[in-house]
Amino acid sequence: MKPKFAMYWAASCGGCEIAVLNIDAKVLDLDANFDVAFWPAAMDVKYKDVEAMADDSILVTLFNGGIRTAENEHMAKLLRRKSKILVAFGSCANEGCIPGLANLSSREVIFDTAYTGPSTENPGGIRPLVAVPVAEGELRLPAFEPVLRTLDQVVEVDYHMPGCPPESHQIAGVVDLLVQVVQGKAELPPKGTVIGAGQSTVCDECPRQRDVKRITRIQRIQEMPPLDPAVCLLEQGLLCSGPATRSGCNARCPQAGAPCIGCYGAAPEALDQGARMMTAIASVIEGRDAAAIDEVLDGIPDPAGMFYRFSLAHSLLRASRSAFEKP
């Protein structure tokens, strides 16, 4: 009997599932060596079927998405119990990613934006409730928790695989490793290892040349003259998260002329990606007095959103004060 494989999405966009299918024919290796026990994006298996499985009966579960609702938390705990190996797959599960940015706002503000914003037609002012009485009985919805948590803030995680989404060649490499482990040809890395990623920063993989040029003005890409293809984007005045971000993507974005936005999360040994990024920016900008410094910094209208775009929920502060406080 083939070992079992599962993949689940919590608070995520579905891009991780697409990324797994993007490994082309390699996905057949997965199928040849594993039985897919549970994968809501690909096949119909009910939660109760998973609940009926024996504990530890799934060899490996790739879990993507952050933990935002009571349902996400329930599934994280359930899949932890049923899986021998639980992999936090993709940026959301590891560091919160874009859904984690909502940790800067309280639930009330999030609901205001979602249910009464200018792009929403909701004349009845309907808001999600945990329980609603109807003629047939009571309808229940999973609670929306005050902050989004990462998978390792809820259950024990065996391996971390960052990226938004993880790069295809990295996923293929991990699938190869899993197949070899199943066939007894390779050993698993130590628990807690970051797999499918590099051990350095995006800058390290980036071929662009760095100088010691000081930045006098930070601009958005659409405001800038054509970029020099060979020179560091940060030095050209574009905010690039390369210095604070883990390698593993072959610096795809900077190579294509777009700044790194930080999707592989904090660089190895960096406790806090945003803090690392602040350090890097402060080192390269001009300004020796408050006014001059502020003039440059005015080019960063949303520092928290910029520096923690992918890692807010796993940063040292994790959320804003208003998000922690229950409305």
Binding site: A70, V147, V155, D272, A275, R288
Partner: protein
């Protein structure tokens, strides 16, 4: 307002100026607020915003950053870097809902013991007026929580969820 609140403040000092200023304050037996726990670094340029965030997240009510006066840096211009980091960090902290008065940057030369003591006194009073920060208990990684503690926390969370569902 609680009058018995004693702010916990972490103070980063530079080996060449501000640490010596603190030393001068001590050897001249100046009296000043004992709330600041000093950490000596080689230079204010060594201060990574990570240090400040970790202090605030782990229980400090305020953070004091000190260094040599502009132009006096032992390593030429690292204190300018500290100033830039500080100004950028302040903007970021505001988005997290941390009051700007909880983090303060000041310069002190090796001779300015009295000035540093005075700055510390004023800063402590400002943080005292703000009250405790008590950064909401960071949800800790499950693996780092002792089993008994984890069970307790899970029970508490469950009880809270039930309560919430009921309300």
């Amino acid at each position: 307002m609680a009058t018995d609140f004693e702010p916990v403040i972490i103070g980063f000092t530079c080996n060449w100026c501000s640490y010596r200023a603190a030393d001068v304050a001590g050897t001249t037996r100046l009296k000043y607020a004992p709330n600041v726990r000093l950490i000596r670094l080689m230079c204010s340029g060594r201060i990574d915003p990570t240090f400040v965030l970790k202090a605030l997240a782990d229980g400090a009510d305020g953070v004091l950053i000190t260094g040599c006066h502009p132009g006096d840096c032992h390593y030429l211009e690292q204190n300018y870097k500290a100033m830039r980091r500080y100004r950028l960090l302040q903007r970021t902290l505001a988005q997290f809902g941390v009051e700007p008065d909880r983090v303060h940057l000041t310069w002190a030369s090796a001779a300015e013991g009295a000035q540093l003591a005075e700055t510390i006194d004023r800063f402590v009073e400002r943080v005292r007026a703000l009250g405790p920060l008590r950064w909401p208990a960071r949800p800790r990684p499950a693996a780092a929580v002792a089993p008994a503690e984890a069970a307790e926390a899970a029970e508490a969370a469950e009880a809270a969820a039930v309560e919430e569902a009921a309300s």
